[in-house]
């Protein structure tokens, strides 16, 4: 019997795990309007990456490219080392089930109750009994801090924060490997913003998950980010300048000397010239 296969490798000898999502030279254009240009970005496993940037810089487009809702005009998007463009509709659907997507407006189904919204993915993709589905829904509802009395309500009867939390519960119910948050705190009061930020932080502790958060709320950035990527709108970069003007940790963001980064971080109307 050979022993070579059983020799344990030290952690620092292990090759780095490949990124969960990789964008290679991605260009995106809507009609005559270019939005993304030559984007190269890796989303590393288990990390919370926050994508920031001005409105209209292509942050949401980036999330939709990652989950295959949009196809890049040029370039390739890999998920778990599979090029999404190579997958047929069925295979792409299987890959999408490994994602959880929290939409900006929650995107809850208007015609369904809160219970039916959260249970929807289980009913569509599993053969769980009604009782097992109910248990899963109640458990997730408790995790996102909502009362069971809300289960019979329709989305129109919920507050903004409640809708976001129901959307989060629905996204988590199939146990995704990666969570995509599109502006999770937009339109919420400061307390509810902090509640949602706490939930984003708690999710990886309960479920092993990679987080990608798109936001322009700096409180959210500083609270949840392990890595920050900042985009600029194409209208504000030079023709040969990369669209990603910052990629680093929150500490590195604080000391970044790039004026456009600091203008965004401080939320100033005018760029301060050093």
């Amino acid at each position: 019997m050979s022993l070579t296969g059983s020799i344990p490798l030290l952690d620092d000898q292990l090759p780095p795990a490949p990124p969960l999502v990789r964008l290679e030279n991605v260009h995106m254009q809507f009609g005559p309007q270019p939005v993304l240009r030559a984007i190269d970005l890796d989303i590393r496993r288990g990390e919370t990456t926050v994508i920031i940037g001005e409105s209209g810089c292509g942050k949401t487009v980036m999330l939709k490219l990652m989950i295959g809702l949009l196809r890049p005009t040029q370039g390739r998007v890999f998920f778990d080392e599979q090029n999404l463009a190579d997958l047929n509709e069925r295979a792409l659907t299987q890959q999408r089930l490994r994602f959880g997507y929290v939409f900006q407006g929650a995107a809850l189904f208007d015609s369904l109750t809160v219970f039916d919204n959260i249970a929807f993915p289980l009913r569509e993709h599993t053969r769980k009994s009604a009782q097992a589905i109910e248990e899963s829904v109640l458990q997730l509802l408790a995790e996102v801090g909502l009362a069971p009395s809300l289960l019979t309500k329709k989305p129109a009867e919920l507050s903004g924060g409640q809708r976001k939390r129901v959307g989060l519960a629905r996204a988590l119910i199939l146990g995704p490997e990666i969570m995509l948050y599109d502006e999770p705190t937009t339109g919420l009061d400061p307390i509810m913003t902090d509640v949602i930020n706490d939930l984003i932080l708690q999710v990886p502790k309960r479920h092993p998950v990679t987080n990608v958060v798109v936001t322009h709320d700096m409180k959210t950035v500083m609270k949840v980010a392990e890595r920050i990527v900042m985009f600029m709108p194409l209208s504000r970069v030079q023709p040969h300048e990369p669209q990603i003007i910052f990629d680093g940790t929150p500490t590195e963001l604080a000391i970044c000397s790039e004026p456009r980064v600091q203008q965004f971080v401080r939320g100033e109307a005018r760029m301060s010239v050093p």
């Binding site: 809702l69 999408r96 089930l97 939409f103 900006q104 407006g105 995107a107 208007d110 569509e124």
Partner: protein, 274 residues
């Protein structure tokens, strides 16, 4: 003094070409939408829980409006026809044939389809348009559910399966309305009113009307779903989608009615030459 930069207006030929190109693309998109929806129709049946509520909305809730309009159109037809037929006494016996034939062959199917396009088609376009702009259709895709299968197929089936029943109702109410006015208001003898109808109208007339209604139902469902899926953002976009779905459905109903009438007449002449 501000200097206005004017963009050159394209010439009439260029405008014509652009309009033709836009129309060509729109037809291509509609054809692609129909083919993919029909693919799902044969690939996977919708669940009963999805189909039945839509059947209720399309069928049961349309009964009052189709019944009432059918009744009144029969009554109006009697009022207008009697005034003409009464001038030539031998023609008076043909009043029942004229009213019942018009209702069964044309007015019943077209009226039921028009009511369906107005009541159900616009609602479908508005509902799906709202789902598009609030990202609910994207949410379905992210949750691994094909929106064409989940949203279009049940609506298509409900319209196609239930419009013949609504047509039968419109036919019945129209015939009753015509008979009521002719016999009760104008004092025609009921035997003379009905006997010629029995001789001159047959199963062919009823069946061609019902077959036409199936085509009307299919066109209403597909046009309305297509308009909803391609709704522009905002209240204006959704409103426009609802309006356009009715207008386009109505044009499709009348065009189909013309071509199907020609087709059935030619078949009739082949089967039963004079």
């Amino acid at each position: 003094m501000s200097t206005a930069v004017s963009t050159p207006t394209p010439g009439p030929m260029r405008q014509l070409l652009n309009a033709a190109r836009t129309m060509f693309i729109a037809w291509g998109e509609l054809a692609d939408f129909i083919l993919r929806s029909m693919g799902w129709l044969f690939f996977k049946r919708p669940s009963r829980g999805t189909l039945l509520p839509i059947c209720f909305q399309v069928g049961v809730l349309s009964v009052p409006v189709v019944g009432i309009t059918g009744l009144f159109i029969g009554m109006v037809l009697a009022v207008q026809s009697y005034a003409e037929f009464v001038r030539i006494p031998p023609l008076k016996d043909w009043l029942g044939v004229a009213i019942n034939g018009s209702v069964i062959r044309e007015l019943g199917p077209v009226l039921a389809a028009t009511m369906l396009a107005g009541r159900v088609g616009s609602a479908i376009a508005a509902e799906l348009g709202t789902m598009r702009v609030t990202e609910q259709i994207d949410a379905l895709t992210c949750l691994g559910v094909n929106p064409l299968h989940y949203l279009v197929v049940p609506r298509f089936l409900a319209c196609v399966l239930l419009i013949p029943l609504l047509t039968v109702l419109a036919d019945f109410m129209g015939i009753m309305g015509g008979a009521l006015i002719s016999t009760q208001l104008y004092g025609m003898e009921p035997y003379r009113y009905w006997s010629l109808s029995q001789d001159k109208l047959g199963m062919w007339d009823i069946m061609t009307g019902l077959i036409k209604s199936v085509f009307f139902g299919a066109s209403i469902a597909l046009i309305s779903c297509f308009r909803g899926f391609h709704s522009k953002p905002g209240a204006e976009g959704v409103g426009k989608a609802a309006t356009e779905s009715f207008v386009h459905s109505f044009i499709a109903i009348l065009a189909l009615d013309f071509f199907l009438s020609m087709f059935f007449n030619s078949i009739y002449r082949q089967l039963w030459p004079e």
